[in-house]
């Protein structure tokens, strides 16, 4: 058995994993929290992305929008990560072979890479373009990448239940 699959089996068989899986309400409750957290993350990051693309809030500097949005996005992300880990814990052995879950993990890695590249390159000189109604093309590419990746993550996440 591959190492990762073995690890998934250990999580699946653990006390916590079994407790969540066998409880009448735990799984559904955690899943509901997970959905609300995703709304928070994706919805708020989309506002920033749409601002960079020049669709909304054009009179407001991009850095102001970013400052307003980031605490919400990050709190959502923490809740999403914790609730998501618990859901995974309970179903780990099944998730290992689930194609939608695998796709979601790859997409999550990519969506993490995106702000990393963005912040170390074009965002470093944000003060030169923060009040522009439309962000420079590299920032717009990052915004489109963010919107499509997060959208795909929602789609892949929902698809997990159908495999």
């Amino acid at each position: 058995m591959p190492f990762l699959q073995h690890l998934c089996q250990i999580l699946y068989d653990s006390g916590l994993g079994t407790a969540i899986r066998e409880s009448d309400y735990a799984y559904s409750l955690i899943e509901s929290v997970h959905v609300i957290a995703i709304t928070l993350v994706v919805g708020t990051i989309a506002v920033l992305d749409l601002r960079m693309l020049g669709f909304i809030l054009r009179p407001i500097a991009i850095t102001r929008v970013a400052h307003a949005v980031f605490p919400l996005t990050w709190s959502g992300f923490v809740i999403m990560f914790i609730s998501g880990s618990l859901l995974f814990w309970a179903e780990a052995a099944k998730m290992y072979n689930n194609p939608a879950f695998r796709a979601k993990i790859v997409l999550l890695a990519l969506v993490g890479l995106n702000p990393l590249i963005f912040h170390t390159t074009v965002y470093r000189r944000v003060h030169e373009w923060e009040t522009a109604r439309l962000a420079p093309w590299r920032a717009r590419v990052a915004a489109i990448a963010s919107l499509s990746l997060w959208g795909s993550i929602v789609i892949a996440g929902r698809a997990i239940a159908y495999f």
């Binding site: 509901s32 994706v42 708020t44 506002v47 407001i60 307003a68 949005v69 919400l72 789609i155 698809a159």
Partner: protein, 158 residues
């Protein structure tokens, strides 16, 4: 009952048949419903937090409300259209579901509130600190929309 028979009729339409028999139909429509939910939730949250004076305090609540309102309306339309398609899959069952009934009542209140008192609160708050009524409107709005979401999630569970 007129309402009950319209629910049953919806299940008998071509849309209903498609949603009941297609392998991926329900899943795809559900994904579109969720994507629109994320946009709707994010836009509403920023608008209401501005109205509460938590974020973007120096900026005009009126223009934020107008701008993000376009996202709210566009995603609301997508949610209603996809929602009707999702409903057609098991309309007869939803008619009797308490979660579904709660969701519809809360949705009606949320939409009504959004276009009336909430709108007035936004129009009346420019760049200044929001007043008592504006803050109350933001709290009522957040509660109503969160209620719609929670009731919606419950449809699949109870």
């Amino acid at each position: 009952m007129f309402l009950h028979s319209s629910f049953l009729a919806l299940g008998q339409t071509a849309l209903g048949h498609f949603m009941q028999t297609s392998r991926w139909g329900f899943a795809l429509v559900e994904m579109a419903h969720l994507l629109a939910l994320a946009l709707l939730g994010g836009a509403l949250l920023i608008v209401d937090l501005r109205l509460l004076g938590v974020v973007l305090k120096g900026e005009s609540a009126r223009s934020i409300g107008r701008d993000l309102g376009r996202i709210v309306i566009a995603s609301l339309i997508v949610m209603i259209v996809t929602g009707i398609a999702l409903l057609s899959e098991e309309a007869g069952k939803c008619y009797f579901s308490p979660a579904f009934r709660w969701k519809m009542v809360l949705l009606a209140f949320a939409v009504l509130f959004y276009f009336t008192l909430h709108r007035r609160a936004l129009l009346g708050t420019d760049t200044g600190t929001p007043g008592f009524w504006a803050r109350s409107a933001a709290l009522v709005s957040l509660t109503l929309w969160l209620g719609v979401g929670v009731a919606g999630r419950a449809i699949g569970l109870i």
